[in-house]
Structures are given as C-alpha cells and as structure tokens.
Symmetry: C2
Subunit: 405 residues, 2 copies
C-alpha cells in the first residue's frame, strides 16, 4: 500500500481515533504483522504531541504454546508488576490503540476450556481497573492486515496482504482524505441518533423470515449513540475504525423470544456457526449452534452477566462493509456489516447524563455487567425492526434490512 | 534454514544456554525479526519443564522515534510497574534469554547525548536489582539474523538472511549436533583455564607491532573462566553462544601503557574506529579514535568505573569466527574473534570463592563497578602476551596471536 495512504490512516487513528492531546501518553497493542505501520502510527501520535508512545507487541502463536504447556494456574497468573501496570493505566489514563491483525483461526484446536478459565481469572483481576477507567480515557480499535488473516480471506496468493490492506482501508473510509470523510460520517450517524432518541423508545421488536422474533426492552434513560464518543474528560474520540453502527445498551432483564445469528461468530479463534438464542426475562435460556455449540455455551456461562444483552446495534443491510461482499472473520468489521446484539457488558455512556452517574447507578438502571462483551450478527435482507414508544406508538425503524426513515 | 537445525539451535539455547530447570520461568527478549524461531525457542523451554515463558518484544526503529520525540525526562522514565518488574526479576530469578538481531547501524544519526543520558538514568534505577540478581540466575545471549543486519553484512541480496543464519550457526558451533559439540568445547576451555590458574599470574603484558604495550594487574584471588558458568544456585549454564574466550576480571587500578583497538567497536548503533587508550593507574587518561572519538569519550565518562578495565579476554587469532573472515558488527561475535578488553563492570565470578563473598567484598578486592561493560578488540596476528607470576617468572601466554602453550 502506498506510504501516503498509510500515513493518512495512521493520522486518522492518532487524530480522529484516539485524538491524542498534547502531553498525553499512548499505549499501542499490536501483533508483529505490520511493524512499519506501527512506526507510522507512533510517529503520528508524537506529531500531535504525545509525551510517550509505548508499544506492547504480542504474537498469537505463542498463546497456543502457553495454553498447551502452562498449568491453568500459571496461565491465569497476573504478576504483581502486571497488576501495577493495570493500576498505572487506571490512574494515568493513557490513550489506547488496539491494532488487530490476528489469524481468525489462530487459536483453533487449542484447549479452549483451560484458556477460557484462565482468561476469566485474569479478567477478574483486571476488571476493577477497567471499571475505574471506563469512559474516562480515549481508545481506538483499528485493523492492519496480518499474513494469516489475509490468506484466510483471499487464499494463498502473493498479494493477499495487499488486498486485505485495501479492504480494511475501504471499509474504514480511510482511502481518500480520511479525516474529512470521517467528520462527515460522524455528522450522519449523529443525526440518526438524534432522530431515534427523540422517539422515546420503550422496546425494539426484531422480526425476520429466518425465525427471529425478539423483543428487547429499553431504559427510559437510554440514548442511542454512534461514531464519535466523548470521554468524561471532554475529549472526542472514535473508538472503532470502521464504525457504521448506531447502538444502545438495552435494559437488563427485558428480552423475550428467539433470535437467529446471520453470520458466523469468531470467538477465541474459533468460528461458531448458525447460532440461535432463546431469551426469557432477559436471559439466554437456550443457546444452539450448528458448529461449536459447546464453545457458545461456555461463552454464555462465562459469568452471571454473559447470558444477558449488553448492546443492540443498528446497521443498514446495504452498509459499505456488507456491500464489499466479504466476511472478514473479525468482529470489528463483521459487526459493522449488519445489525447485531451483544451478550455481556453494556455501555454506561448510552445512559442519559452518564457523566454525572456512578457505574453502580448505571447498572441499577439496567446496564448489564460482565467480563465479556461478544457481538453476534442478526442483520439480513429480511429484517424488520419496530419500536414501541413510551407514548404507545409503533414506529417502523428498519424495513427489509434497511432504515425505514 | 532447515527447521531441524533451527530446532537443535533452540534446544541448545534452552538446555545448554540457560539450562532451564523444571518449574523455572523464562524471560526472552527479542526483536521482531524471527518470530518463528522465538516460537521454537519457547517450545524448547517448555519441553524441558519451564513453568512460564514470557517474550518481551522490542523494535529498534521505535527507539529512534522515542529518542527523537520524547523529552529526556520522558525518555529516562521508569514507571512504578517497570521497577516492580525489575524487583520481580531480582526476587524470582527467571532464566533470561537475549536474542540479538539488531541492525548495527540502526541507531545511527540519533541524538546520542539525549539517548545516553536517558539510558544512564534508567540503568541507575535498574542497577540495585541487577546487583541483587548477579550470579544468581541463568542467562544466555544468542543471535538470530535480522533483515537489516544481514543486509549490512552481505548487501542487498535475497539470501542475505539465510547467509547470516549460516554464519551465526557456524560461529556458534550449532550446525551439527550442537549439544555434544558444546560439551566438548566447554571441556577444552576448562582445561585452558586450569592451566592459566595454576600459574599464579600477577600481571599480563600485551605487546604488538601496532603500538600496543599494556600491562594489566591481576588479583591474587583472580581465576580465569571460560564457557559454562555455574550460578550461585548451582546450575551450570552458558551465558554466551558463541563463546571462544577465556577471561578474567583484572585488578582495578593496575593498568599502565597504551593499547590499540584492532576492530571497530559497535556502540549504541554507531561504529567507533581505530580506537587507542592510554592507561595510568588503571584509568583511561587518553581516549582517541579515528572515527566517533566523541562517542568513545562519552562511553569512558559514563560513570566513575567506565574508565577502568572490567575484563581481559584471551581468544586465539585463528578462532573459528576470525577464520570466517567476517566482521559481524556485533560484539557477541566480534569479541570471540580476537583477544579483547572491556571497560566498565567486572565479573565477581572470576574471583576465587565468589560464592561465599559479597558483592562488596569482590569490589574491595579489585573487581571494577560500572553501569557499562563494553568490550573492545585488541587481538591481531602480531599480539604477544606474557604473564608475570607471583613467583617472579615470566611465562609466554600468546605468541603471534595464538596460544603459546
């Protein structure tokens, strides 16, 4: 990919993504796949005044080895200095960039039970620090092409990684003058949210020819959001590049009916296919899948909150990513190709006035809490969504997969 | 390079290099150059019973950016969690593997003053932890071919990295049955040390046609060592792969005369050429170089101990590495191509009975202390070394660059 385009992408992430402020620290997490791009990104952060940029590299194949050879105890271990690093994060709130490039099949065949159990124990230790930092720092997830990921999408061709660069940058609206493009895109998403929030939605009912018929309750205080967010310190940032969704955290405990997944879910390096949930009283009471059903059930059982919904996201069926006709096997992209729901943690910042509410208040209002947050796609060409308002009206939101208004 | 050979090399490092004991932790530091080899190495460590293997990746080009953009304050910063990690190391004593592959010119043109000042401040913080761990843990420095390093040696040819693999593995005696080869090699080095130690050497006098005439005093308690070492916990390990040298820490304060370098010194990513030191009372009183003299003088002035000798190492001129006719631009190899001295910290484990002596005692006997340890080559085809013994005899040690016995 041309260096000029990559530089623009790096600047998009640094300026629109995390929006580094002069004197801020930046932590970048990256696989080993694109070191030259990580250099561009680090430089883009320094250019706008970052005090320090730290890169934490990881290498997915080592995760397989660790899981194979370590005891569960050793795998779950968080050393004192690692916890101290979490504390440093929660106290100093550096900007965080997560550059994804993993092989979607990279963890296949691993001892998932051992890995999951260890992850769960580690997340329990990390959780108080994450909770403390929530909504207070700028973060951004974006992608770069890994070799194995590119091969998965395009086969063993020499230009696979170059093709994945193009797909990523196109889906991310980063090919041409990305900062101006993103400013316009954010205005569009903001306008849609304003419209939805003006309706006073009590519940959303999803229906589709595949058997989906699910009604999800909303909090009176709930507010749809999309695109840019604002941290509690008042800094606007874009947490996902790409982002096509308008989303809200539903009210915990209010979900009734059946919903069918419309795309495979890539979870812990494995694909869960043809998933189907039945909800009662907000909770998953039945979890089925055509492939990897046991893994799906493990996900649902991760903790008390993993069986409840944390997010409802609306994405038109003719979104740019869906139109690319490509399954990325990566949630960051695939979730922006279609309407989706998420099991697990909700977002406090979809509660009105969250700036002045504590985490506990938000949870008491109905924002779900969990150590997981897993999106699954339910959008399709036949999806209808109807809102029932607190005023008793029914308002069409989606018709045949696309916005009804 | 064939996977079979690389697996053997990984096992050499895991078993002979750090000699991982069941239940021990291993920390590997590596550049991004050879992730597949790092996987083999991690697996080799797990195979012999490592409890956890941790890999800390680094990427030299980022160091340039950090030095360019950070303030000296930010560059020198050691966060609380980083110091906690040092403490963890000093307390739990994991095995440490350092895999070198850096570009010898990778830091050229950087603000050396800022970088050095920051390094010095960071090392001051790290030093008490390193002192506490000294001689108590197993460590090993070995090399893998980086792309830029290979290009530097072999030019912009497609097989440069493959050629550097071969050069590294040959110099490291790792091409063929490396573990048996290293067992024999260690026996040979051990026999030479026994011979030297039986003489009771009071001083070594180096003379060569290039103007070198230097006499270096030895401690009565000094003991030559080479090849394998034994940690204070009784575990045998090989700290350098390759290692051709027999070495000793001289007595601080006893070095008189002039010594001329015979190979360029690669220091902080830059080459110091044609160096020449004059010593009085053990201290460098004049430091000259044909190229990068200012950098050499910075090295000598790093701290009080940087102007004193920490090591005298004997390597025959027809060593395997010298015979390869290749300047590696890397001290690990180049120091094993020729006799060398080091400025800076000495090694307590070349003091007789160091196991039962404190660090302070060793330093009082004459082991030099510094935050640096920089080898420089003085071996050449014309080098003679003579020992004066405590019994008053003069014994030839080297004649015309090679062992005299």
């Amino acid at each position: 990919m041309e260096e000029r385009i990559l530089k623009n992408y790096a600047r998009l992430i640094a300026r629109m993504g995390v929006n580094v402020q002069p004197g801020q620290d930046v932590w970048i997490e990256a696989e080993l796949d694109q070191p030259a791009f990580v250099e561009l990104l680090a430089e883009a952060c320094y250019e706008v005044g970052a005090r320090t940029v730290r890169v934490d590299w990881s290498h997915q194949p080592l995760q397989r080895l660790h899981t194979q050879y370590r005891s569960e105890e050793a795998l779950a271990e968080v050393r004192t200095w690692e916890e101290e690093k979490l504390r440093d994060f929660a106290e100093t709130l550096p900007c965080r960039v997560y550059l994804l490039s993993e092989d979607p099949d990279g963890l296949c065949g691993m001892d998932a039970a051992k890995f999951t159990a260890a992850q769960q124990r580690k997340r329990q230790i990390a959780k108080p620090y994450r909770d403390k930092a929530e909504n207070r720092y700028q973060w951004c997830i974006a992608a770069v092409p890994g070799a194995a990921w590119a091969r998965k999408l395009f086969g063993p061709v020499p230009d696979a990684q170059e093709r994945l660069w193009k797909a990523i940058l196109t889906a991310s609206r980063a090919m041409d003058d990305p900062i101006a493009t993103w400013e316009a895109h954010n205005r569009d998403l903001w306008t849609r949210c304003e419209r939805l929030n003006s309706l006073g939605i009590r519940s959303l009912r999803y229906t589709a020819p595949n058997g989906t018929d699910l009604t999800v309750g909303m909090m009176p205080e709930g507010r749809f959001r999309g695109g840019a967010e604002t941290s509690l310190r008042g800094i606007v940032f874009n947490p996902n590049i790409p982002s096509e969704e308008v989303f809200i955290s539903p009210k915990r405990g209010e979900a009734e009916g059946v919903v069918c997944g419309t795309m495979p879910l890539s979870y812990q390096g494995q694909l869960i296919e043809d998933l189907r949930f039945r909800f009662e009283g907000g909770r998953v009471v039945e979890a089925r899948a055509g492939k990897n059903e046991a893994l799906l059930q493990k996900l649902v059982a991760m903790d008390e909150g993993a069986a409840f919904l944390g997010e409802c996201a609306l994405v038109p069926h003719d979104s740019p990513i869906q139109n690319a006709g490509l399954l990325f096997y990566n949630t960051l992209f695939d979730e922006n190709a279609a309407c989706h729901l998420a099991l697990g943690a909700g977002f406090c910042d979809t509660v009105d006035g969250f700036e002045n509410r504590s985490l506990e208040e938000c949870r008491a209002l109905g924002v779900n809490d969990s150590i997981v947050h897993e999106d699954f796609m339910i959008g399709c060409a036949g999806l209808n969504v109807d809102a029932e308002t607190f005023g008793g009206e029914t308002v069409p939101i989606f018709r045949a997969g696309n916005w009804a208004f």
